[in-house]
């Protein structure tokens, strides 16, 4: 990244190859919208390009990148809130994994876990995504979120408890549905 700072913009291509997939995974885990997530990845790389002069070579690159990623996500969310009214992002009727064919899937429990993760409140979900999928250390997450590392660890624990509760509720509903006792 320091090389990009000194004007060698072509090196940004190397950074892209290295990080585009994990950044995409971060965004799509948060917003479940593939198109939007690709837009956001693009946005992050070009913000890094534009702000390259502000990158401090002593700073951890991943931390800087995720800082920019979070800001890009927040900016997008604000823009979308202004445009979209009243649509539940995680409406199961739009969720392709909730169709009847998927219910018969072998890995149904994992699908339900994914839905449970989607239903977590945004801050808990982001925390778990950063800790579990983006391989960030708790210290790095603390820096990103601007809190103490101890706080991060407690929050991770609470997020897992919340996830478990939602997961078991969904599991119960799914099994009731399969057994035909749903009464629909």
């Amino acid at each position: 990244m320091a090389q990009v700072g000194s004007g060698d913009v072509a090196k940004m291509a190397v950074l892209f190859e290295r990080h585009n997939r994990s950044l995409f995974r971060y965004f799509v885990s948060l917003n479940r919208n593939r198109e939007l997530s690709e837009d956001l990845v693009q946005d992050v790389f070009f913000r890094m390009l534009r702000y390259r002069a502000s990158y401090d070579p002593n700073q951890n690159f991943t931390a800087w990148m995720y800082q920019i990623a979070r800001n890009a996500n927040i900016d997008q969310a604000q823009k979308r809130r202004a445009e979209v009214v009243g649509i539940d992002e995680f409406d199961d009727r739009r969720d392709p994994s909730a169709g009847p064919a998927e219910v018969a899937e072998k890995n149904q429990d994992v699908t339900i876990l994914k839905r449970a993760l989607d239903r977590l409140p945004a801050d808990k979900k982001e925390l778990l995504v950063l800790a579990r999928f983006q391989d960030l250390k708790y210290e790095e997450i603390a820096g990103l979120l601007g809190c103490e590392v101890g706080t991060v660890k407690v929050r991770v624990f609470r997020a897992m408890r919340a996830l478990e509760e939602i997961y078991h509720t969904l599991l119960k509903d799914a099994r009731a549905g399969r057994d035909g006792t749903n009464g629909v």
Binding site: A10, F16, N20, F24, E38, Q42, N107, L113, V154, M160
Partner: protein
């Protein structure tokens, strides 16, 4: 260790970042506390299961868009008006009046001095030209990098784009030539191979190209590609390939249309 304290350690326990001492204390607690042990196991299983959620991959469009935009960005940098000497000097001008006055006097003195010594018609070398040259070099490097990267992608349409970038690099670029030749010989898509053969026109001056093209013909499995390779040799007027083309023209294992084409090519190359 009490229950509260052990719960605070769970995040580290899952991430396997507990110190040995803490881990021993933690293990001791859950060995003696049913509730904590049960929760540790349940949440631990959930933590492990999270890894089973399928990983989403971006579409090939993401890469294409990125490289297109990067190229446009570089093009914009290259053609953006450079600040003139005047602008640069004005940027240096001090804001404080006292400093301005001091600097003005100093410049006046220097100006007068230069006036006595400067010869008319002497131009100072513009650093802008050096910058543009450096930028051009970087754009070329980038095209090369983009071409090489795209030629290795899974999607045929991306490899096609890689070929179109390859055409834009200098014909002396051996890395890109090598990648193109590999594409001609090994790419699973006939379309991509045909485009790569087209691109090889650019690199026709190199003997490496001609030799590789000639050797590729009998190894190809698609007549269309073999014919395109023969056409390339004719376009490059490569008379040295005549012996090989003769062999192709008389090789029974090769498609009749290709043999005929090789015969025709021999006529053209005489």
């Amino acid at each position: 260790m009490n229950c509260e304290e052990s719960k605070m350690l769970l995040a580290d326990y899952w991430a396997q970042t507990l110190s040995e001492t803490k881990e021993l204390e933690f293990d001791a607690h859950i060995a003696s506390c049913e509730a904590c042990r049960a929760e540790t196991e349940r949440l631990g299983a959930l933590w492990t299961s999270l890894a089973k959620i399928p990983v989403e991959e971006p579409s090939p469009a993401l890469r294409s868009r990125f490289y297109d935009t990067l190229a446009a960005y570089r093009h914009g940098l290259e053609s953006a008006p450079k600040p003139s000497w005047k602008d640069r000097i004005l940027a240096l001008w001090p804001k404080q009046p006292a400093f301005q006055m001091g600097l003005s006097f100093a410049l006046l003195a220097i100006g007068v001095g230069i006036g006595y010594t400067a010869k008319p018609g002497v131009k100072t070398l513009e650093p802008e030209n050096q910058e543009v040259a450096a930028l051009r070099g970087e754009v070329t490097n980038m095209r090369q990098m983009v071409a090489l990267s795209l030629l290795q992608q899974q999607s045929a349409s991306e490899r096609l784009r890689g070929v179109s970038y390859a055409v834009q690099v200098p014909s002396s670029d051996t890395e890109v030539l090598s990648a193109l030749l590999k594409t001609v010989n090994q790419d699973p898509s006939v379309n991509v191979r045909l485009q790569a053969i087209d691109a090889l026109h650019q690199f026709g001056a190199s003997p490496v190209t001609r030799t590789a093209v000639v050797q590729s013909i009998p190894k190809q499995d698609t007549p269309l590609v073999q014919i395109a390779l023969i056409d390339l040799l004719v376009d490059l007027k490569d008379r040295d390939s005549a012996p090989e083309l003769s062999k192709v023209a008389s090789d029974d294992k090769i498609d009749a249309a290709v043999r005929q084409h090789a015969q025709w090519a021999l006529g053209k190359l005489q």
